[in-house]
Symmetry: C3
Subunit: 210 residues, 3 copies
Amino acid sequence: MLLYWLGMFGIAAFAITGVISSGKRDMDLFSVVLLGMVTSLGGGTIRDVILSVDAVYWVDDVSYVWVAFLSSVFAFSAVRVIENRQQLFEYADSFGLALFTVVAAEKVLNYGFSSIIAIVMGVITGVAGGMIRDLLSHRPPLVLGKEFYATPAFLGALLVVALEKNIPFHEFNSVYGAALIFILRLFAIHKGLYYPSWLLYKKRSKHDAE
Amino acid sequence: MLLYWLGMFGIAAFAITGVISSGKRDMDLFSVVLLGMVTSLGGGTIRDVILSVDAVYWVDDVSYVWVAFLSSVFAFSAVRVIENRQQLFEYADSFGLALFTVVAAEKVLNYGFSSIIAIVMGVITGVAGGMIRDLLSHRPPLVLGKEFYATPAFLGALLVVALEKNIPFHEFNSVYGAALIFILRLFAIHKGLYYPSWLLYKKRSKHDAE
Amino acid sequence: MLLYWLGMFGIAAFAITGVISSGKRDMDLFSVVLLGMVTSLGGGTIRDVILSVDAVYWVDDVSYVWVAFLSSVFAFSAVRVIENRQQLFEYADSFGLALFTVVAAEKVLNYGFSSIIAIVMGVITGVAGGMIRDLLSHRPPLVLGKEFYATPAFLGALLVVALEKNIPFHEFNSVYGAALIFILRLFAIHKGLYYPSWLLYKKRSKHDAE
């Protein structure tokens, strides 16, 4: 039940990032809302299609579609009066990343898959919605940026899986995982939290300069 | 049966747009044809994978693959003698959008899903093929453009669903829906049919300028 | 069994291309590895989702995930000491294209699908991983380039299907197909092997110039 609401909040958060990211001057309501919905429903769709255990979640339970739709419409209206869209974007994206990752990891564990699949699917689900958004908005994916992005998702999924193995069905396991991801991501954005240099990709040849 | 032929025409139309869009000077026949086929078969593939009721349509009935292949080869040859490719592109894209949207909406209703799923899947199927095409051709998606694109698909899907609920199995329900989408889209392109300003996205922060 | 190992080698090769392609100065280990894994597991995921006969291969057999992960980590470390990344990229991409195409074609035939589906799925699987990689790295897809790319995959898939129909279950059928693709692709890159001009796309209108 908690998982259900976390999923809903994640959808609302990603819908907002989709609207902010794709919105260009004078685009119309419906196009922007469509991109908000694709962003927010996309990650979980990929998860369910790959697992192919149940039907895709929003086909099964239409309330997800409504949440994605209403959040997108709300974001479309709200962005007019918001001064700092970039900051709202970053917070909403971190929040969505956190919730989608842990919800996916929990869901995969509940289906009886192995820990590794739970971690991999958690990271992919968390990151995929944002990737689709960035591709459709014709921007370089956020995950390619210099702040760390995949790592918080990975550590959060790892924490959720570790907690579930040791204290199964504890109510707040997913909340702890989501909090870890959200906090690490905010630190990355605001405090420049980063890796030691030997864990960074080094430029060498012309190919990278392109 | 009518639905079957509408689907085939949609595939041929989208194959043409894929060829025109992806074709770059000196690309070879097979690459261009591959992109035509991915564009034309892609939207319906996403629809069937998400619904996961039957096998993907073109795996079940190979004649779709042949239509996509032959239309792409035809378009590859024909574009050499066509003066106004941009116009052909716009007409074929509008035609494909119209047909794919209504065929998907009808198919989803026939499977027994709810009206909302039918409308959402109709819009997604109609728009997705073009999105894939634009991503692979490395252009900004058409749906992000200033002419309206998602709205006609939405209204057409709505009309088809409304007609099916009131006069079920009427032969021309999908034709009416497709005509509405096609006409609205042509008006949007040629007459600048558009939204009142309060339904448009307003630029505010630096984030949008990027 | 041979097919299993060919698939593993293909995954390792594509993981390397994903790392080289997506790696930007100062990106961190985990983001680069994630993109290597998405590149290497992506093509086969699309294949299995479209066929929807079995579960997606790496959900079923986690060793694929490990190979993708370890190859990506290895590539991340190795690229620091490699002078000519562009060349390694081209060889690994050709190798991955060759193996993925023939493995997919064989797998589809073994499931009992028709020859046409086997050829189409072979080409799509071979090309899709690279397409996802290029989209996520924000580069124009390689398949849109001027060297030929789709054609070798098509001819290799055709050869595998023809051999399987005539000498079924012969151990080296897939090796012959893969060798054909790899050699044709290397000729294309290094010797400029190409099409006669009437099989090339001709620029005509302003639309293509964009």
